[in-house]
């Protein structure tokens, strides 16, 4: 074992006594093996499979008698989930809550996912919300925000943000933001940037006023990603955007990238430094290509290659000194 070698060496160099070495060796042998993250992953996978399967079953049995059973079991499961979470709730605080067990967290998640499935069912079957689709999507958003703050649950917070975004009409999920959204066709670029900015602002507020500062990561990572992505894609479109002229987009991208770097320095978070630098780099590179549009042939190619080499070296130097840069706050 590696730890045995290390202990031998420490003993040899006189940094630990023989007795102490033996005690640590004993602990290394008897230390229990933690299945914490494996069990959490199993719970999450189980909940996803269960709610997904129930959702499909509900649709398949929409017209026969069997669907009553499915609805009933889903409602019971949902109430069980919410009830279990409520029974194990901790007193409310603006700080992060520490719990001994992770099961209530997942019970809450199960309840929320089933709530979505049941709400959709009620709309499909009984047309509960009529044509007020906005109400149908804003309701889960409000409920999930309340639950997220009350139960201190970042997963439910992410679901609330997703529901809010679907109310606005865009998908905010980090990967599908790259694939699903056609900001250009629906003119949603402005809305996406607005929502992204709002979420980022809420995140900054949470961080500064210590209103659940650990939520800031979720707000800012989802919000800033959405805003920057929508703004960048507006930058690359050929057709002019009514709400996002390029003369506004460029300063917006610069300011947003800059504030991400500022936030990265504040929280010493390398993710936001990376995001800020990457989007900033894309913007600057785009502008350079615009300027070079008239220059053709070998001179243009040489300038581009020189730019890539030198700028990349510059960014690498910035990153290598990133630790110093982040600590100097």
């Amino acid at each position: 074992m590696v730890s045995d070698q290390l202990l031998d060496e420490l003993r040899h160099r006189g940094l630990l006594s023989a007795h102490h070495t033996e005690a640590i060796r004993q602990d290394e042998r008897s230390r229990p093996f933690s299945l914490h993250y494996e069990l959490r992953a199993a719970l999450y996978l189980g909940i996803t499979l269960l709610t997904g399967g129930l959702g499909v079953l509900l649709y398949q049995h929409l017209d026969d008698i069997g669907h009553g059973v499915v609805v009933l079991s889903m409602a019971v499961l949902m109430l069980t989930g919410f009830g279990y979470a409520a029974r194990h709730r901790q007193p409310f605080t603006w700080e992060q809550v520490t719990t001994s067990s992770f099961v209530p967290d997942y019970a809450l998640l199960l309840g929320c996912l089933l709530f979505l499935a049941l709400e959709t069912y009620l709309q499909v079957q009984y047309n509960l919300f009529g044509n007020r689709y906005g109400l149908a999507t804003v309701l889960p958003a409000v409920l999930f925000f309340l639950l997220a703050y009350r139960f201190d649950h970042r997963g439910v917070l992410a679901m609330a943000i997703t529901a809010l975004a679907s109310w606005v009409g865009v998908s905010v999920a980090p990967l599908s933001a790259f694939t699903d959204n056609n900001f250009l066709y629906y003119g949603l670029g402005g809305a996406a940037v607005g929502l992204g900015l709002l979420l980022t602002a809420v995140g900054f507020e949470a961080e500064i006023n210590r209103h659940k500062p650990h939520f800031a990561f979720t707000y800012i990572s989802l919000g800033a990603n959405l805003a920057l992505l929508a703004a960048t894609s507006a930058l690359f479109t050929f057709y002019p955007q009514p709400f996002l002229p390029k003369v506004l987009v460029v300063p917006l991208l610069v300011v947003l990238s800059g504030s991400l770097v500022w936030y990265a320095r504040r929280t010493k978070s390398y993710l936001f430094l990376l995001m800020g630098v990457l989007y900033g780099y894309i913007t600057v590179t785009y502008l350079l290509f615009r300027v070079l549009d008239g220059v053709h042939g070998e001179i243009g190619a040489t300038i581009v290659m020189l730019y890539f080499t030198l700028s990349a070296v510059g960014v690498v130097v910035l990153f290598v000194h990133g630790k110093k840069f982040l600590n100097r706050s």
Binding site: H36, T51, F102, L116, A136, R154, S166, L274, F308
Partner: protein
């Protein structure tokens, strides 16, 4: 020249820091003792956090590509082979230089330069072989001597690079190249296809034995990260070589059939598909070893997929509901049963490093499907308007 590119003491010191931090969290060391040990084993190399490493990787890649592009542009790009050769040598020298000068140690930038150097070398080899040997038709690609002539040197190159740089991705690719070479050689023999699964399993088992032996050596801390990857990989290839789906479909691909047919000695593979994951999980829990446990769980998932691929026991949605319910109940039971500790296992978070950032909330945002507002003209009620997992993509 030293065989190892990085200072071997760095690996040793890093392991010492991780161990003492763990012992300190478990209350086995006082903070003065931890301080004393950590000053005796200083971390005098450069490796930032994950995201900075990603950034360094991306921008080192852009920078090195820009350099090669610049060379190509100013020499008007007239000879690909020479360019690839110069790029490979140049990138490698730059890599060695930056490791010396900036004390990079698996810091992102050095990974990028290493992969680029190997990529250019592979391109150069391919181009040279293409010039020297008569061109081959793509249908005989697998069995040709050219393939061996290309893959053989690539394997040796990967092996040398792994010995020198102890990089996980290179180790991964090198092991895959080895398996590929063995497969190609075996397929030349008359009974090759029949014994291929068993030979690959034997090779994997041998590789695991070798890796397990090597990781016990005190002077191999330098390779610890590679050896873990190779353990997972050899266990995976041992399982996959005996998996019914892989054997049957692989057989069909090698035979050039469009539909796979039943394979010889199928019961052996049924048994292997069913039992190997259970064995891995058992060893993983008993030993205990996360490598065996997680590989076993992944193998079990693939075995379930294999079963469902050939025999759909239940409709997908019912299977999902039942299996989901089973997983939840099992996890909740285990979480309570293993608190605080039974059979040397616990469900409490241990002294392992807490997750770097809240990955979970991003996964939830990605997988949870929220009903989206349809277009105003669209009547709510169609099958495709979504709902939690209703589109079957859960």
């Amino acid at each position: 020249m030293n065989l190892k590119a990085y200072n071997p003491a760095w690996a040793q010191h890093e392991a010492m820091h991780a161990a003492t931090a763990r012992w300190f969290r478990r209350g086995l060391l006082t903070s003065e003792q931890q301080q004393a040990i950590q000053t005796a084993y200083p971390l005098d190399f450069y490796r930032p956090g994950l995201f900075l490493r990603i950034g360094l990787f991306i921008f080192a890649y852009i920078g090195a590509s820009g350099m090669v592009g610049l060379l190509a542009v100013i020499t008007s790009f007239d000879h690909l082979e020479s360019l690839a050769f110069i790029a490979a040598i140049g990138t490698w020298l730059a890599l060695e230089f930056f490791i010396r000068s900036s004390r990079l140690y698996h810091a992102g930038a050095d990974n990028a330069l290493l992969y680029m150097a190997l990529g250019w070398a592979a391109l150069w080899l391919t181009a040279v072989l293409d010039d020297v040997l008569p061109s081959i038709s793509s249908s005989s690609l697998l069995s040709s001597i050219q393939t061996t002539l290309l893959l053989g040197p690539l394997f040796l190159l990967g092996l040398l690079a792994t010995i020198r740089f102890a990089d996980r991705v290179v180790a991964f690719a090198t092991y895959c190249l080895l398996l590929l070479l063995i497969t190609i050689w075996l397929l030349q023999l008359p009974f090759g296809r029949l014994v291929l699964p068993f030979i690959l399993m034997a090779v994997s088992a041998g590789a695991y034995q070798l890796v397990a032996l090597l990781s016990k050596r005190p002077d191999y801390t330098y390779y610890q990260r590679c050896l873990v990857v190779l353990k997972v990989l050899s266990l995976s290839s041992l399982y996959l070589a005996g998996n019914y789906y892989v054997v049957r479909e692989g057989n069909a691909v090698l035979g050039g059939d469009y539909l796979s047919a039943q394979i010889p000695s199928a019961p052996v593979f049924y048994l292997l598909t069913a039992l190997v994951p259970l064995l891995y999980i058992r060893v993983g829990l008993r030993h205990p070893s996360r490598v065996w446990l997680l590989t076993g769980l992944a193998a079990a998932a693939f075995s379930l997929f294999t079963l469902r691929h050939y025999r759909a026991v239940l409709p997908t949605e019912i299977a999902a509901v039942l299996f989901g319910l089973l997983l939840i109940l099992l996890a909740v039971w285990a979480a309570r049963y293993l608190r605080p500790t039974r059979h040397g296992l616990t469900s409490l978070a241990q002294d392992e490093q807490p997750p770097l950032f809240n990955l979970e909330s991003l996964i939830v945002a990605e997988t949870a499907v929220v009903p989206t507002a349809p277009e105003p003209t669209f009547q709510f009620g169609g099958g495709h308007s979504g709902g939690a997992g209703a589109d079957g993509t859960y």
